[in-house]
């Protein structure tokens, strides 16, 4: 007999789920609401109904340079993602299809670097960047973002590749495919969904990364995260303007995430459910 769930219970569970979802989303929602308030309204206290003024957006656009950090964010997240894939695809391929006795250890070690607090290596990395002249440069930050997300990218691709049966690649080899032919005609087409969701996730992670982007940039290479942070400094706090800037910063990634959510969920749960 199938498990039956009463209508009332379904209703309660649905309500709870919505409440939790709203709780998680609320900070973002309130940021968006505040961005449509005037500065006076914003500091007056909690209020869910804004006056729908676009004043803050106009100010952010006219008084500050939104375009440069936006372009920096695009360049950094896309650049670091492409760079990470170039390194991670061959790495994951060899780990999945030609594993050695140490493969599992290497994977665990890579993951363990993500458990270390970033601030622990801030000083050596800052010094390195300074000595190499990479501070506030797009190249330096692209490499940095690539490195910090690399473990996750390798792990995701590895789990994806592992799902591809080795016999299919052997069949390609028997059919006369070179290593290149095997990767281009067989492995990549079969792994496209996995590579795509890995790419999406990495773009989002790179876009939202705030610790290193704020520490290692000032103006030239500063992405939107640093742009937002700059609103909470010298002139005091301008809640409405800060909210408008934040909304502008998160909007592109929010829209992208919305359209690709199906792909993302599939990517993150791959292997767990079939």
């Amino acid at each position: 007999m199938a498990r039956s769930v009463s209508t009332r219970r379904t209703a309660v569970v649905t309500l709870v789920a919505w409440a939790v979802a709203l709780l998680i989303f609320f900070p973002i929602l309130y940021t968006i609401i505040t961005s449509f308030k005037s500065e006076q309204e914003a500091i007056q206290g909690f209020d869910l109904i804004p006056s729908f003024t676009l004043e803050s957006y106009r100010d952010v656009q006219s008084q500050y340079d939104y375009f440069t950090p936006f372009m920096n964010s695009v360049i950094l997240s896309l650049g670091s993602t492409i760079l990470a894939l170039i390194v991670a695809v061959p790495a994951a391929w060899s780990m999945a299809f030609a594993p050695s006795r140490r493969t599992k250890d290497i994977l665990m070690w890579m993951l363990s670097t993500k458990m270390m607090p970033a601030v622990a290596v801030l000083f050596p990395i800052y010094m390195l960047f300074r000595d190499l002249g990479l501070l506030d440069s797009r190249i330096g930050l692209t490499i940095m973002l690539m490195l910090i997300n690399l473990p996750i990218v390798v792990w995701m691709l590895y789990t994806y590749f592992r799902e591809i049966p080795g016999e299919i690649l052997e069949a390609a080899r028997m059919d006369g495919a070179s290593l290149w032919g095997e990767i281009v005609y067989v492995l990549t087409p079969m792994a496209v969904p996995g590579i795509a969701s890995t790419m999406l996730l990495n773009i989002i992670l790179a876009w939202n990364e705030a610790f290193w982007t704020i520490r290692l940039t000032t103006t030239n290479a500063a992405p939107l995260t640093a742009f937002i942070a700059s609103f909470s400094s010298p002139q005091g706090l301008f809640w409405a303007k800060l909210s408008a800037a934040s909304t502008l910063a998160i909007a592109p990634i929010l829209i992208m995430g919305w359209f690709s959510q199906k792909q993302l969920v599939r990517g993150l749960t791959f292997g767990a459910v079939k």
């Binding site: 049966p165 052997e170 390609a172 080899r173 028997m174 059919d175 079969m190």
Partner: protein, 333 residues
């Protein structure tokens, strides 16, 4: 052409020798079956010939040419895998065409060859489908199609029928045998199923723990097994082995009698026993009998031989068909 010669081929993983050293010659056009229990090294041996595994030592020659160090693609062999290993993102047409595309054949020729293969294998109506939309038998035929299009010097089959149901397995067995009659190309076929080995092979290679126990035609192996292992492995139901005074009286450590080489009677015979289980298959009846002073024996009787659990029966082994083995398990002349 497809003559394959193995010279002292050895495969070890670390300290474990999966195949200690094998010498074997497969003649052009032969249908050779590697048979043995799971873990006996038969698939590894096939993969060594294919080039999917590297030999630890020894030489593999195809048509007189040393291919030991060659990549699989250079060996002119085609392989059919147990899981079919079709490319799920390609249509049947593209699957079959793949080896030809890799060989950079002109498109018109590829089309012609794919159509030909599809006709032989009854796949013409399925050419535009994906493997996921086909039944198990059809997928297996696509895998065979992909193997035959490029006219390899030999075909390698790695337990190709074990994922199919019993009825389909029977008909695919006949299809593969017919294909061999048509193409007359060397085929090496790996299976753990001795029925497949007996029905399809020109030559059976019985493997056990990485060693060749015996090589011969199906009937040679059936009539004169070289040792206890082959005697017990070939034939269904299994040969009965008897030790003790009965064997000693015949100057052997063990004697073997096949279930079908015994005369059954309800009134008289050499051995007397009690039926423990009677399996009525219609044409035949397999009787499991507890024989006094001998032990449990399996016997084949005709379908009309009506006995049941607990009945007393008499058995007379055919004296001309008793196999004798020494203490080491080797057959005595």
């Amino acid at each position: 052409m497809g003559k394959i010669v193995l010279k002292k081929v050895n495969k070890s993983f670390g300290d474990t020798a999966v195949i200690p050293g094998i010498d074997l010659t497969i003649e052009n056009g032969e249908f050779v079956v590697f048979v043995g229990p799971s873990g006996c090294g038969k698939s590894t041996l096939l993969r060594l010939i294919a080039g999917l595994e590297d030999t630890t030592s020894g030489v593999i020659e195809i048509d007189g040419k040393d291919v030991t160090g060659e990549a699989p693609a250079k060996r002119q062999l085609a392989m059919v895998f147990q899981s079919y290993a079709l490319y799920p993102h390609m249509s049947v047409r593209k699957n079959i065409a793949f080896p030809l595309k890799m060989a950079k054949m002109p498109q018109a020729e590829i089309d012609r060859k794919v159509e030909d293969a599809a006709r032989i294998l009854n796949l013409t109506n399925y050419l535009e489908r994906r493997p996921g939309q086909l039944s198990g038998g059809q997928r297996q035929r696509v895998a065979i199609g992909r193997a035959i299009v490029r006219q390899p010097s030999a075909f390698l089959f790695d337990e190709p029928l074990s994922n199919l149901d019993a009825a389909l397995r029977g008909s695919m067995r006949i299809e593969i045998s017919e294909l061999h009659q048509q193409l007359k190309t060397t085929m090496i076929y790996v299976t753990h199923d001795q029925v497949e080995a007996m029905t399809m092979a020109d030559k059976i290679v019985v493997l056990n723990a990485g060693n060749i126990e015996q090589v011969g035609s199906p009937l040679e192996l059936y009539r004169s097994p070289r040792n206890l292992f082959v005697a017990g492995f070939i034939g269904s139901p299994k040969m009965n082995f008897v030790t003790g005074p009965y064997a000693q009286a015949r100057n052997a450590a063990t004697v073997g009698v096949r279930p079908e080489h015994m005369t059954m009677s309800t009134s008289e015979g050499e051995w007397r026993g009690t039926v423990t289980v009677a399996e009525h298959l219609g044409a035949d009846t397999f009787l499991h009998i507890n024989v006094d002073g001998i032990g449990l024996v399996t016997a084949r009787a005709s379908g009309e031989f009506a006995v049941n659990h607990g009945d007393t029966v008499f058995i007379t082994p055919d004296p001309n068909r008793i196999h004798r083995f020494d203490a080491n398990g080797n057959a005595l002349a």
